[in-house]
């Protein structure tokens, strides 16, 4: 086994496994911001605006907003961002939000259905039948659900009722400028002022993630370093290639033979690197790897092995094929 190839394959696999992990986290945190809403999502942050709005006008605009969302097949998730109650309000007439149970069709009923998040202080209070100070007046607990990914300290989710929506973060599953504009106009009529608008196609979210950027940079630069290293290594063997060429070896034979000879080292290095990177990071973070993470790491290791083998082939081609005549003459 060629140890040079083993170690380069090993370190490249470590870097590739870390990129895959960073990708998985970026995907998780994107789902977290968008609360697992399907498709492309726009996230808006609203505060109370300076415009004077009577409560009847605001109620009317809210009803129009609901009708518009219903008609456009959209879902709306309103979450507290440090103001008001620690809650999430969901308007999802078409059951698009995977973690939220259905809301009753009869909105006129007096009790507001509430689903507490598992593992929260609110669940603890509910289990010991103590009153929950976070719930709005007239709320009725319908059950316990798993919280959407990393919902932080938010305590429960409830259906949007007849009370007016609060300030906070609004997520709607569209990035269509006309639809977003219509939603903004209705919320403006409800007395809100938009503080921040973020369209969140996954790609943009990905390139804004510092961990993803740094690990991607490291793997990219790592491949650059490895190509440089291999090319220098193969240059060092130019004399050997020249002698073999003069004895009739064709470039394709030389490339094929060196490629095959390199495969055991590259494959073993890549597999060990992938396993070690996953194990080491999980051990330092003292976490058990989930099935999803194991799968991601497995894919990353296989991709690393294939990419490294192709890079080795490229380096061989560069030195043996393109410098065949030079080696032959030398």
């Amino acid at each position: 086994m060629n140890y040079r190839l083993f170690w380069t394959g090993f370190f490249l696999a470590v870097l590739t496994a870390l990129v895959a992990w960073a990708f998985q986290w970026a995907l998780d945190s994107w789902k977290e911001v968008t609360f697992d809403l399907p498709g492309e999502v726009t996230v808006l942050r609203f505060i109370k605006g300076p415009q004077m709005t009577s409560s009847s006008e605001a109620e009317l605009a809210q009803e129009e907003l609901k009708a518009y969302l219903h008609q456009q097949h959209l879902a709306l998730i309103v979450s507290s961002s440090g103001d008001n109650r620690p809650e999430i309000q969901v308007y999802d007439p078409h059951n698009l939000v995977p973690w939220f149970p259905e809301c009753p069709l009869d909105e006129a009923q007096s009790a507001i259905p509430v689903y507490l998040f598992r593992g929260t202080y609110s669940e603890h209070l509910w289990r010991k039948s103590a009153p929950n100070p976070f719930l709005p007046p007239g709320a009725s607990v319908k059950g316990i659900i798993d919280a959407p990914r990393r919902s932080g300290t938010l305590q429960y989710a409830r259906c949007v009722g007849n009370d007016l929506l609060p300030e906070g973060q609004y997520a709607v599953n569209t990035t269509d400028p006309i639809k977003v504009q219509n939603v903004l106009a209705l919320l403006h009529r409800m007395g809100f002022l938009v503080q921040e608008t973020r369209k969140l196609p996954f790609f943009f979210s990905l390139i804004q993630d510092p961990l993803m950027l740094i690990t991607a940079f490291l793997v990219f630069a790592g491949y650059g370093c490895v190509v440089l290293y291999w090319v220098h290594y193969l240059y060092g063997r130019s004399r050997e290639f020249g002698i073999r060429a003069r004895h009739g070896a064709r470039p394709v034979h030389l490339v094929g033979e060196n490629f095959t000879n390199g495969l055991p080292g590259l494959t073993t290095g890549s597999l060990l690197g992938g396993v070690l990177a996953g194990g080491l990071v999980a051990a330092i973070g003292q976490v058990n790897l989930s099935a999803e993470e194991m799968f991601t790491l497995g894919i990353a290791t296989i991709v690393a092995a294939i990419m490294t083998a192709l890079t080795w082939l490229f380096a061989l081609f560069l030195v043996i094929r393109l410098r065949y005549e030079v080696n032959l003459a030398g």
Binding site: L15, H232, V287
Partner: protein, 366 residues
């Protein structure tokens, strides 16, 4: 001698595209490694600082404020309840950011950290706080005599002495608050009712209960909720290790990744360096014929190596360390830890490359 080192530099400069790229990559990796270590060290310090709090099963709170920037109206009975808990050493509280916000000249314009509770010096012995309360101390970088005394809740408190340098307050609510440019006040609970509403609100959100029975937490949370201040309780012994694990995992990814990359970059550099020295073989031989000793040749090789893997990295790491000190980072000296690692790598490469060249080319030995 100096000419030999300069000659080594010019060998690197003549091949600047590859050498500049490699030097840049190694420099970036060394700087990111230092920053990742800052993160790890500050988190370790937070965890160490929180040991007493974990042992005492402390409970802290995440606040949800009333809408529209309104200040909460928590009842006097709840405030009195908190004051009693603090007096019984079953809680402490702090005002970190909102003390005298409407008076820019308060405490000479320096930010003030106000701590309530006689249990505080016991929980944070590394702060070496003044005793007994009420009393105040100035951060190590607050000049003496600038702040002599201040009035909090109608009582004048004099500033007694300076805190040790690089003192950091590792409370559960603020993950590492540097105190060098702050005034730290130990106040008495009798001052609480006379605080401004915004100061009082912050104090309530930063209450930390020690060994609290469930009923105490429930009473406090429901009392503040009536004033539209919703406080979600967390246990330090559950929350802090979990947060620590998440941050350690993220930092581990940076550190493992950068180390793997550094090995690859150094491998590429060594192979390039070998090729460069091989091309310089004739020049080295001629120099030897004109009287250059092995020492001269090794200095030339050392100059070449230093130009790529030592000097640019050292300059950037030194500047980064100065920046971290100025920015009051919790562990500003991590670049100084990376520097010796680079020096050792440089020394090893210098030694091995020189030995290889002198041995292989018959240019003499050590």
């Amino acid at each position: 001698m100096l000419d030999e080192i300069k000659g080594g530099f010019s060998v690197a400069l003549r091949r600047w595209p590859v050498m500049f790229t490699l030097a840049g990559l190694i420099t970036i990796a060394a700087a990111v490694l230092s920053l990742a270590l800052v993160d790890v060290l500050s988190q370790v310090a937070v965890l160490k600082g929180g040991r007493q709090l974990r042992e005492r099963h402390a409970v802290f709170f995440t606040p949800y404020y009333p809408p529209g920037g309104e200040i909460s109206r928590v009842g006097e009975d709840v405030v009195q309840y908190v004051m009693d808990l603090i007096d019984q050493q079953r809680a402490y509280a702090a005002i970190v950011y909102n003390m005298a916000l409407d008076d820019p000249d308060f405490a000479g314009g320096y930010p003030v950290l106000v701590l309530f509770g006689d249990v505080v010096p016991e929980l944070f012995p590394e702060l070496h706080l003044c005793d007994p309360a009420p009393c105040a101390m100035r951060g190590a970088r607050v000049p003496e005599g600038v702040v002599v005394s201040m009035t909090i809740g109608g009582e004048e408190i004099s500033v007694e002495k300076a805190l040790p340098r690089h003192t950091t307050f590792f409370d559960v609510n603020v993950a590492g608050l540097p105190l060098d440019r702050r005034i730290v006040v130990r106040a008495l609970t009798r001052m609480i009712p006379r605080l401004a509403p915004m100061e009082r609100e912050e104090l309530l959100t930063r209450v930390v209960l020690l060994d609290p029975p469930e009923s105490t937490v429930d009473t406090f949370v429901s009392g503040t909720a009536q004033g539209k201040l919703f406080l979600v309780p967390h246990s330090v012994s559950v929350e802090q290790p979990q947060r620590f694990r998440e941050i350690m995992m993220r930092s581990a990814m940076y550190i493992v990744g950068i180390l793997a990359f550094l090995v690859l970059a150094l491998m590429a550099f060594v192979s390039s360096a070998r090729l460069v020295i091989q091309k310089e073989r004739r020049a080295l031989k001629i120099r030897q014929m004109y009287g250059a000793t092995p020492l001269h040749l090794s200095l030339r090789i050392g100059g070449f190596l230093a130009a790529v893997i030592l000097i640019p990295e050292m300059i950037v790491l030194f500047l980064l360390q100065r920046f971290l000190v100025l920015a009051d980072a919790p562990a500003p000296n991590t670049p100084l830890w990376v520097m010796p690692c680079l020096v050792v790598t440089f020394a090893y490469l210098w030694f091995s490359l020189t030995r290889e060249v002198l041995g292989k080319e018959g240019l003499g030995g050590w």
